[in-house]
Amino acid sequence: MELVAIAIFVVVLALIALEWVHRTKLALAGAALMAILGVIDEEGAIAAVDWSTLGLLAGMMIIVGLTEPTGVFTYLALRVAQLSNGSALRLVFLLAGVTGLLSAFLDNLTAILLIVPITLLLADLLRVSAIPLVLVEVVSSNIGGTATLIGDPPNIMIGTAVKELSFLDFIVNLAPVSLVTLVTVTAGLAFAYRKQLRVPPERAAEIARIDPARDMREAVYVKRSLAVLLGTILAFFLHTLLHLEPAVVALTGATVMLLVAADDVERALERIEWSTLFFFIGLFVMVGGLEERGVIDHVAEGLADITGGSRVAETLVILWGAAGGSALVDNIPFTAAMIPVVDTLSPSGESFDDVRWWALALGACFGGNATLVAAAANVAAAGVLDRAHQPISFVRFLAVGIPVTIVSLLIATAYLLVFQL
């Protein structure tokens, strides 16, 4: 039965990477197969679903979905273009900064869906190629999302699975290294794209004349929506003091948002990306099946054998292994499978050691930049570009993704060795 569990999981991962069939269908099919074949029993399958992760995701989807009509995100993107004042270097850094910040405090998939369409417009108005700007944003979203518990799906899963880790712990341990990585990588990309992003002066002047706040003035519930969004982010910082799980914070924020800033609850709930939630459900059940059949224990034992039980070696193997695995498949299923492995390796209780969790977060999130299929944000950006008739090929993404990932992992390695190990 252990081999059946492995076979189902590996085949599903491979098919997800190939993108022939929607990943949600595959994850649910894999979960159903495991349940039908008896890899995991029905009670086990239901217990394997991490409802906290689903609650956190659904809550943030509602909050961001109801904030989006206020036009605040469009305002930010337009201000960035204006502040760049025609300088390609400034434009790249400002767009990377805004995307990184939105990713950290909303989540990177949402940030990409908000920022890429407006970037296509900006590129058109500035008469520059959109693809370099979108690539900068995708990379920034994966790095920026690394900084917080809610920024990137791997962190959401780790944060909800490991109760000892708070929102603040993520920021203290991951935000500095994410910031350094973001600045380094953005500088490299700005240099690489300096010729493609030269803005004609008359175009910069035209952008300067735009009134970026116009949509916000016409929108309703701007103040209420922003107050709830900022209040929720503040509550994330304080969730340990408030004795509230991040999922409870997100769902409470979503409920307040529905009460004060949504006229039509049916339409508001359409903002929830059900396919993403069901993708997670399928994954959790499959990983539950792997755990049930002892696969996770065997992987953890194998990892301990390879590294000889050395804390440093284990941490670095997790970091680079998570990045490699995420690059090949998708960082969400890979993290789902790795969480119980790292949990087995990590001491718990009073001797709780968080370094392996930071290695997993950094590896999975940074590894999300390696290939077009490595992170949900990448796939979402490619989808928007496709619909805009400006497709990006797998190879073109790879040409940026691989060097960015290697640089990011080198910084992460140095950070872990110097500050964490």
Partner: protein, 147 residues
Amino acid sequence: MTLRDITLVPASVPATATFREAATALRDSGLPAIAVLDAEGHVEGLFTDIDLLEGLFPAYLGELKHTSFLPDDALTERALEAADERVTEHMRKARELEIETSTAHAAERFLHCEEGALPVVGDDDRFVGMLPRAEFSLAMLRRRTGS
């Protein structure tokens, strides 16, 4: 009663037509959609007023939700490029109605699609004419009220 009993409008363009020619034909027909036909008279696609609008502006415009800040002359270059493109690059897949289709079925199809007119094909699968939603509805009303 079937679609054979309703007046259809023979509004179409050949698949070789340009975007500009299709736009003119659409306007001249007064319909929200016209058929795009192959050389044998089979329906290859449907060109609607939405396709016309989408063709005139960059494809990403539909992804945006806030654009009131744009100046009047922004994003107009796309129309120049589109004018000489083939209509087949802008048409959508057509869901045809058969001439013997019942009016109830046609009504159900209209309720589940965004196109304001649908192409009707004959027994030989060749285009017969466009069935405009408004004309169809009026025909149904006339039939029931007798006026």
